[in-house]
Symmetry: C2
C-alpha cells in the first residue's frame, strides 16, 4: 500500500503545475517531518488537480490525530461547492471474479474517452501492514501508471462506519480535484456492500459463469442491489457457460420487483482479461445515468444518501457512547449471557442496561 | 378486531376450568372497570391454558399505561421458564396471495394432529379502528371457532420496534399457555418481515402463480429470507401456471448461496382454498425443524435472535432519547435541509447535532 501511495505521489510530481511541492514521504521512516500546509493551500492544490496535494489530504483525513481531523473537515467544507459532479460507480464481486483486471480494462476505456478516474475501495478488514484489496497493483497495471488516474486503497482497518465515512469524504476531495468518474470497489462477502451501495449512483456486480459453486461467496441480498450484473470470463471455451449464466441471472431478476429507479437491471457478458464487451458495460452505465437524471431519480437518490449518512453517523456515535460507557461495560457480558440462556427477556435486559446508562 | 377478541373471550369461557372468570369486556363502552388480577393470578390462569387470562394479559402488555406495563413485564418474567417449546412460523405474502385462507387450512391440519395453535400478526400500519390484517375473520372461519386456537390481531399502530416487541412478548405468554405452534403473519410489503424473520424458526413465503405482475408487491430481499416458498392457487386451470412458477422459483433459489442453516429452501405448490398440498407444507416445516435441531442451528438461531433483540431494543431507545431531545429537535430540520442541499456534509451536520445532545 505504501507502494501505491508512493507511486501516486510520484505521479503527482509529473502533473504538478508549478505549486510548491510537498516533500516526498519516505515510507521506511516511522516519523517524517512534513511541512504543514494551511487549509487554503490544500484547497488550492486540490482544485488545481494536483494529485500530491489530494493524496496528502486523504492521508490527513485518514489520520486519527484530532488536529489532522480538524484540518481535514475544514478542507472538505471548502471542497463541497466543487463536488458532486462525478458519476460514482460501486463495483463488487467475490475474490477471484476478476475485479482488479476488470477495473483496469474498464477504467482505461473510460480514460480514453477523456475522463479522469479515481479508484477507491472499502474493505474494513484491510490493514496497512497486510495490504488491501487494491494492494495488488500488478492487476491494475495500466491504470496505476496513468496520470489521469488516482488510485487509493481502502482506509486501514476500523469500524465499517469509520472506513465508509473516510471513503465518502475522499469522494468529495476527488471530485473537487476534477475526477469525474469514481469507482468504489468492495469485496462481496461482508457488510461493506451496503455501505458502498449507499454512496454510489450505479452498483455493478461482477459474477463468474458457473452453476452455483462460484456464487457461494456472494452475500444474500447483493444481487438485488445491483443496477447491472456482468458475467466475466466470457471468452474461449467459456462463452457458452457465460451465456447460460447470463440467462439464469436474467430469469432470476424477473422474479424481483422493479427497482424504484424505474431501471431494469441488465445482465451482460464480457472478458476483462481479453477486453471483450467493455464498451457495452460503460454504455449501460451511461444509459442508466441518463435515464435516472431524466426521471429525477438520480438527484433524489443522492439526497437520500446524504440523509442516510447523517442519521447513520448519529446512530454510530450514540452506539459508541453507550457501549463504551464504563458502567454499561461492567454488566453487559452478564446481561448478554442471561438473554442467550433465556433467563430474562431481551427487553428486560435492555431496560436494565439503559437504566444504568441514563441514570448516572 | 374487537369482534375477534370478543370471540376469543367467549371461547375462553368454554375452556375455562373453574378459575374465577374475568368479566366479558363490552367493546362498545370506552371505559370498562375490570377487576385487577395480581401477577400470580394471571400467571396461574395462563399456565392452566385459560384463554381469557391469556387474552387479558396480552391486552395489559399492549397497554401504554406504565402500571400495566409493569405488571406485564413481571408476568412475562414468571412465564419465561415455561416458554420456548413451540415451533414458531413466520408467514408472509402480498395482499391477495391468500394468506388468511392458507392459515385457516394449514392451521386446521395442524390442529387435527393434536397441536394447539396461536395465530399472531405484525402490521405496524394497522389501527384498532380500521381493523388489521387478521381482522377479516371470515377467511379464518374454521380456526376462529376452534377452542385450541388463540387468534390475536397485530398490536395497534406504533413504531415497528414497539409492535414487534409486543408480538414477541405475546409469543412467550402463548407458549406458557401451552400453544406449541405459533404463526406470526405479516404483509410482504414493508419492513415488518425482517422483524418477523428475527422472531421465528421457519419463514414461509406465500406466492401466486404468474409471470411477474403479481410479484411486484413483494419487497426486495424477502425471497432470500424464506425457508420455504409455497405457490398458492395450484388448482383447476391454474395448475400448469403454478408448476411453471414453482420451477422459476427453484431456478432462482439456485442462484442464491446456501443458507447458514444448511437447509435448502423448498418450493411447493398448493391450494389453500381447495385444501390441496397442505400436508406437504406442514411436512416440510417439520423436516426443517428436525434438520436444524439435529445440526444445532435451531438453538443457535434462537440465541442469536435474543441477542439481536437485546441490542435492537437498546438502539431503539438510544434513538428515541436523541431524537426527542428538545435541543436536537430545535435544529434537526435545518441540519437535514443543509445536508440534502449539499451545503454541509452529513458528517459535519451529525457532529453539530451530537455536540448539541451531549454537551448540555
Amino acid at each position: 500500500m505504501e507502494h501505491i501511495e508512493d507511486s501516486n505521489e510520484y505521479k503527482g510530481l509529473n502533473v504538478n503545475k508549478g505549486i510548491e511541492q510537498p516533500p516526498i514521504v519516505n515510507p521506511y521512516l516511522k516519523t517524517v517531518r512534513k511541512k504543514q500546509y494551511t487549509v487554503e493551500e490544500y484547497a488550492e492544490g486540490i482544485l488545481r488537480g494536483n494529485i500530491t496535494f489530494l493524496s496528502q489530504a486523504v492521508t490527513l483525513l485518514e489520520s486519527t490525530q484530532p488536529h489532522h481531523q480538524q484540518l481535514a473537515q475544514e478542507l472538505i467544507e471548502k471542497c463541497i461547492p466543487y463536488s458532486g459532479k462525478s458519476v460514482r460507480i460501486g463495483i463488487t464481486g467475490v475474490p477471484g471474479a476478476g475485479k482488479s483486471t476488470s477495473i483496469d480494462t474498464l477504467g482505461m476505456h473510460i480514460i480514453r474517452e477523456g475522463h479522469k478516474l479515481a479508484v477507491l475501495a472499502i474493505d474494513p478488514s484491510s490493514e496497512r501492514s497486510k495490504g488491501s484489496i487494491l494492494g495488488d497493483k500488478t492487476r491494475m497495471e495500466a491504470l496505476a501508471v496513468h496520470p489521469d488516474v488516482f488510485i487509493r486503497p481502502s482506509p486501514s482497518a476500523g469500524s465499517l462506519g469509520g472506513v465508509a465515512r473516510k471513503t465518502r469524504e475522499t469522494v468529495i476531495l476527488c471530485e473537487a480535484a476534477g475526477y469525474d468518474t469514481i469507482f468504489v470497489e468492495t469485496v462481496g462477502v461482508g457488510q461493506s456492500e451496503t455501505a458502498v451501495h449507499s454512496m454510489v449512483d450505479f452498483f455493478l456486480l461482477i459474477q463468474l459463469a458457473g452453476t452455483g459453486d462460484e456464487l457461494q461467496g456472494i452475500k444474500r441480498g447483493i444481487m438485488e442491489m445491483a443496477d447491472g450484473i456482468v458475467v466475466n470470463k466470457a471468452d474461449g471455451n467459456n462463452i457458452d457457460k457465460a451465456k447460460l449464466a447470463q440467462q439464469q441471472y436474467i430469469n432470476a431478476l424477473h422474479l424481483f420487483p422493479p427497482a424504484e429507479s424505474g431501471w431494469k437491471p441488465e445482465v451482460l457478458t464480457y472478458s476483462g482479461y481479453y477486453n471483450i464487451g467493455i464498451p457495452e458495460i460503460w454504455d449501460m452505465i451511461r444509459r442508466y445515468i441518463d435515464f435516472t437524471k431524466e426521471n429525477g431519480y438520480f438527484e433524489k437518490k443522492r439526497a437520500r444518501q446524504s440523509f442516510y449518512w447523517l442519521h447513520e453517523t448519529i446512530l454510530e456515535e450514540l452506539k459508541n457512547h453507550f457501549y463504551q460507557d464504563p458502567d454499561v461495560r461492567t454488566i453487559l457480558k452478564e446481561k448478554e449471557r442471561q438473554v442467550i440462556d433465556s433467563e430474562v427477556t431481551p427487553f428486560i435486559a435492555a431496560k436494565e442496561l439503559l437504566d444504568t446508562y441514563f441514570n448516572q
